[in-house]
Subunit: 345 residues, 2 copies
């Protein structure tokens, strides 16, 4: 198995190393040959090559079995000609990663750390499907001295493929999809709602479907997050809502994500950012990246038992309180990683 | 004083009547001559005239001293040729209402009803300035069988005027503005950030300014809402974030809003929607509309004492627990309104 590592910026290198060490232990244990190769992306790539996504990185990623990314960005590159984030957007497009999955389960041992009341977040178990290659992210942009525009754009096939992915996942879960749009204002949202409604009727009539407006969804997610199973939405709304949801579980440092295409490798990354203020200090929580490695095993390498084994180890470690400072623990990044590795063994 | 009432749909008529009764009492007490005239908007207007914003309504609003709106919309008009919401968007544009203000103070007596922990929401006192006539709401929309687009568009003067309004308000408050955008992805956001930064440096250097990305802001608002004073943002982000914030205080039924132009009348409305499920049953919380009437007195009629008197009465009533079912009380819309009127007297 050929796994590309993209450490990126800020805490990215530390947490990527943590996940690689965990994957190496899994490789030994289950006798898999994981080959790792590191490539540049984001600010680190701008510093060395001038480009946020060098051609060598792009070529390595599309040829890999899976890609694990740390984080990109930081104030160091603010106002520069090229932005680190361009690298992330370009690799999503180059790999055809149209579905960004963000599972969230609120761990009972950590529910008390949530800013929400325990009785509201306890038992939350949802997954966001965010469309990742369309919308306002990739539409034409214009700029004059006096005026700027961004085009938000969706085609029927773009909506269909992420919708199918969401419904297929709902089938293996509690059988409910909530599709989020702003159909009372946006034409793309009206198309979105039509396509989701049709795919549901034609292909997944047994799944419960509800539509919600993005503004009321921003409320409901705080008031009754347990009501949701699969949440399906377009690129920008997914960006905002999935970050909102990420606070429910107590620390954003715990949360993994998977970005998948039709075929070909997936890209896996923690949902936290590059956190430049704590970079290089052995303070970052490695769990989000370690759980991203579990998703990598499950979705790209089809190694279900191996993925389960990482997730079980993480659950045991959290229950034992062997956690980093963001969760009130005393461990550093390395020690928290060792705790997970010990639990796997 | 010529005040136009736009009851609209769902619970709109009930809550508008409540606020009108309160205004009438204030008029008697302070010897002002408030003249009320009712006009059609939204679904109610579609039913009677075919148009969500009939010309008579538009003309009355622009000629008024102030406009008080209930709510528009409901499933009854789903899939129709005209949408009730069109009426709301059209009246905002016709009246030149570029700044939507949503103040939020978490009442100490209601903090325990928040889905967030008391220690997080206690003491929250912020105000959102949402740009209301630009962005994706009013840009060109296209649609073919296979594809839809929405144009998000901002000009420098559009950004300047709402920015000045936000900074002026910050001067009278705690002196801090948080401007929210998605400058790492959107060209309109990069223009937004430039203009806000320039107006700050040129005209309001004594105010503290910080920029935040909309996705991280969706998190911060839940984790540390007390950190914010004035939040300034564009139309769509303002729609989403102000609804998210609205849950902090325990009930959305409490919250007022003001929409203001450069000169001319303002439009005042509760931030809750038309709530068709409870319409006509004397269940709706009238407080959001009553507090909107207070904002009307303050901002459009410059009657500061009269506005204070309504706000003090509402605070007294909430403290006494004379509240509707959404706040765990036993009062209906009428009885809750009478309680406020008694407190004014
Ligand atoms: C860094 C940024 C461009 C990116 C996005 O908005 O997609 C990030 O917020 C994310 O969610 O992965
Ligand atoms: C009804 C709808 C068009 C409107 C908006 O999105 O502006 C509403 O959500 C609001 O916030 O006033």
């Amino acid at each position: 198995y050929n796994i590309v590592l993209l450490p990126g910026d800020g805490v990215g290198p530390e947490v990527t190393r943590a996940a690689r060490d965990v994957l190496a232990v899994i490789g030994d244990f289950y006798s898999h040959d994981f080959q790792f190769s590191e490539h540049l992306i984001g600010g680190a790539a701008i510093d060395e090559t001038g480009e946020p996504l060098p051609e060598a990185t792009r070529a390595a990623c599309v040829a890999a079995d899976a890609v694990l990314l740390g984080a990109v960005g930081g104030p160091k590159w603010d106002g520069g000609k090229r932005r680190p984030e361009e690298g992330l957007l370009a690799i999503r497009k180059a790999m055809g990663l149209f579905a960004n999955l963000r599972p969230l389960q609120v761990s009972p041992v950590l529910a008390h750390r949530s800013p929400l009341k325990k009785e509201i977040v306890e038992g939350v178990d949802l997954i966001v499907f965010r469309e990742l290659t369309g919308g306002v992210y990739f539409g034409e942009k214009t700029r004059t001295a006096d005026r700027a525009t961004d085009l938000c754009e969706y085609t029927v096939p773009e909506i269909e493929r992420v919708t199918r992915a969401a419904f297929q996942t709902a089938r293996q879960r509690r059988g409910k999809v909530t599709s989020v749009d702003k159909a009372n204002v946006m034409e793309t949202s009206r198309l979105w709602r039509e396509v989701v409604t049709r795919i549901h009727a034609e292909e997944f009539p047994e799944i419960e479907l509800e539509h919600a407006l993005v503004d009321s969804m921003a409320m409901h997610l705080i008031r009754k997050p347990r009501d949701y199973d699969v949440i399906l939405t377009e690129n920008m709304f997914g960006d905002i809502l999935s970050d909102e949801i990420s606070v429910l579980g107590g620390s954003i440092g715990l949360l993994p994500s998977a970005s998948l295409g039709t075929e070909g490798p997936g890209l896996f990354e923690p949902i936290h950012g590059s956190a430049p203020d704590i970079a290089g200090q052995d303070l970052a929580n490695p769990v989000g990246t370690i759980l991203s490695a579990a998703l990598l095993l499950r979705h790209s390498l089809k190694l279900e038992d191996e993925a389960d084994s990482i997730e079980a180890a993480v659950a045991a470690v959290l229950a034992a309180g062997a956690v980093t400072a963001d969760l009130g623990g005393a461990l550093g990044t390395r020690a928290a990683t060792e705790a997970v590795i010990d639990a796997i063994r």
